[in-house]
Amino acid sequence: MSDYAYIVLIPLLPLASFVLLGLFGRKYFTKSAGIIGTMALLASTIIALMAAHQYFFVDGKVAGAYHQVIAFKYTWLAFSPGVSIDMGIVIDPISVMMLVVVSFVSLMVHMFSLGYMKGEERFATYYAYLGLFTFSMLGLVLSVNIFQVYLFWELVGVSSFLLIGYYYEKPTAVAASKKAFIVTRFADLGFLIGILILGFYSGTLDISTLIHKLTSVQSPEYIAITTAGFLGASALTWALVLVFIGGAGKSAMFPLHIWLPDAMEGPTPVSALIHAATMVVAGVYLVARLFPVFSMDDTALHVVTYVGAFSALLAAVIACTQTDIKRVLAFSTMSQIGYMMFALGVSKQVGEQGLGYMASMFHLFTHAFFKSLLFLCAGAVIHLVHSNEIKDMGGLRKLMPVTHIAFLVACLAIAGVPPFAGFFSKEEILLAAFNENKLIYAVALFTAALTAFYMFRLYFSIFWSKESAHHDTHHEGTVSMKIPLIILAACTIGVGFIPFAKLVTADGAALETHIDILFSLAPVGLTLIAILIAARLYKQQNGGPQKIADSLGGFYRVVSRKFYMDELYLFITKKIIFPLIGKPIAWIDRNIVDGCMNALASITVKISGGIKGMQSGKVQGYALYFFGGVTLLAILFIYVWK
């Protein structure tokens, strides 16, 4: 199917811009860097859309189901026969969908940054990093080989590291970037070992082959991997759970979510791109990519489900108490990803049961738009007020109408108010949960309400509340910043109506979805109530929120400190790993291991000092030794070694 080969261009263009700007940006393209990057992205986006069109509406369907196409594949590093890292391009519904999302959102961010990052010293570097990230992310979604996934997985990790640490002179930014990288790296360890296990038992790293081998119950590989076990769980379970840990790390699932809020130290557009729309959903994508295998093992699926649900709830609760708008958004992201995760968890591979899968992908799709929109709006706001704190804001609706409208649209979408995009996807998820697992459904419902509440808390306290302290001299930012907002807002309204169930499903076959009003009543109703409460509390300034906070007392504090997760991690690293493992080892090395080496030397010197009396300087003593030697030899050879 080489007629998809042109898709190679989609990742390569950003790569080109990265190389170009990375090598020569600082010298030659200090001003034009932005344009170059944006143009590259524009090109890839167009190609991506073409590809999507071609796949979904021209020749993707075979016998009523979307099938997988390997556009191209090249053995990159051969380990042993059968086992090798291949670089390739896989075309199937989710990869195409992700292509569109990634390139599109990235384009928006590129555009927005033209204005937002104007006059930065390392403007070119910034765009170079963006290019690198986009390339890696596209490479990730197109992977044919599980090791290829891992490879790009690491690359997105590092580009996120570089972008979070973009303001490298801010210690907090440096710390945040380190935290993000190390936490995800820790998760990747699980991923890596998972890969090793899968690769070992299935004898391949090629995803489609691997899926093929591990999903047919009679295949020797499947039997081997399910019979082999460790600590009561089968090797398959272990592999999948480990892989999921990797995904959880990237997707900021509990308990590996701690890096995400801090990651907000990076430039806001970056947060929009990486920590809202694309990279953080990589975990979801990974699980979806291997979903056929996951669906073979209930334990793994349950882990996915409960971790997802819990994270969704936890994040929502925390989000209600945060005062930094970006952190609020960060937690909302975590919460939404939780949705996607448990949606996958409650799904099955084929037919009607595949609803959750489809819903999850759908939500991933819509979420990308409204969440990036939220972040970009937040960016615009921060650009204006030069602060992330809610208290510095308020009454901005007159100053920045466009942003205001866009933000409102986004809020409605994420809250799941019809007919905005979020509504459709969230309904599907709730439905899936309802069919599979009532508990999860309840959690999801409650979380939905919370979501609506904290989003509108944010909305009202930014744009209404008290009168703006800022003068009208501030304008809303350049055109290049407004356009993305408008486009994204339009999408946020529009994308909900895409017949997603027809396009992206677990087994490729179209899925009949019907949302009856009765089912929708509950969530929508709750949402609206939550919105009203938020309006009541935050539309005008009043002591209400404070009262509630006080009434909750300790609980409130615990929540606002994010359940002391960070402190826990700090304790483990600073109080356990460094002093109890690192220091002793370093000490042992210097004093014991090295000490032994030095001791050998000093002992030798000691001995040589001890026997020096032999050389007494008295010639008679020498003669005596001579005679002693002779006698000794004589005794030895006459009596001993006769």
Partner: protein
């Protein structure tokens, strides 16, 4: 001559060995360098006795032993000459011929 042949070889060897170790004892214990030389002469002479005795009792046919002892005597003389010279020089520098005074170099 016959009177000599009544003494068994063992006795003579005993004497010579005794002489040798007396010499060695002298070498180990006396402090005066000249005395040390004398002690060495004792040892050499005991060896001479050995040679002569062996030659006379065991191998009367050839005269190897006798000749050897002649050479030993000569060389002992030469050795003594050089040694005395050295000792005199030592006396010049150390104002003493006590062996324990010449222990500057040690360890």
């Amino acid at each position: 001559m016959s009177s000599l042949s009544e003494i068994p070889l063992a006795h003579i060897l005993f004497v010579s060995t005794a002489l040798f170790f007396i010499g060695m004892y002298g070498l180990f214990t006396r402090k005066n360098l000249v005395t040390l030389l004398m002690a060495i002469e004792l040892m050499l002479n005991s060896v001479n006795i050995n040679f002569i005795a062996f030659n006379k009792y065991l191998y009367p046919g050839k005269l190897d032993g006798v000749f050897f002892s002649l050479f030993i005597i000569t060389i002992a003389a030469a050795e003594a000459a050089v040694a005395i010279a050295i000792i005199i020089n030592l006396y010049r520098s150390h104002q003493s011929i006590d062996v324990d005074d010449a222990t500057e170099m040690k360890y």
